[in-house]
Assembly symmetry: C2
Homo-oligomer: 87 residues x 2
């Protein structure tokens, strides 16, 4: 499991580091990550309305940036659904 966790951390950092704050995902970075890294787990990942809704539901402090902890909640929900666990 540790190598899988490392993949998630390093991919988050790679996308978060593209512009602005190195440690959070801007909306553009988030859209880029979802479209390229989560194409099967997120339906209509290229639809701006889907990205807006997802981002709004995750960005708890509404600063327009997603922290690693906020992002982790998203992939947990996607993983739960994919695993057949309701959440």
């Amino acid at each position: 499991m540790e190598s899988a966790i490392n993949v998630l951390v390093s991919q988050f950092k790679a996308y978060a580091g593209k512009d602005g704050s190195l440690h959070t995902l801007s909306k553009d970075e988030f859209q880029n990550l979802v479209a390229t890294q989560l194409p099967n787990l997120v339906k209509n990942a290229t639809d701006p309305a889907v990205i807006d809704r997802l981002m709004g539901s995750l960005d708890e402090n509404n600063d327009g940036e997603l922290t690693f902890a906020e992002f982790w909640q998203l992939i947990g929900k996607l993983a739960s659904r994919h695993a057949g666990y309701s959440q």
Copy 2:
């Protein structure tokens, strides 16, 4: 990222399915998973007191079993710490 997420889900299911409820981790299953799958991220993973404390901190409804969502919170915390993000 999707393949890494799938690894985490399938490993959780493999350990959760060893005894009792197929969808949750008993304490024995949790201890087994941590010792074998998270040996670097969890220090002293073979110490029963460490396992007791971790399990108690995660098992929100105190039923002695960890759901996938409860387990996901643990690996999120471990990943955050590993990534250098405080949480």
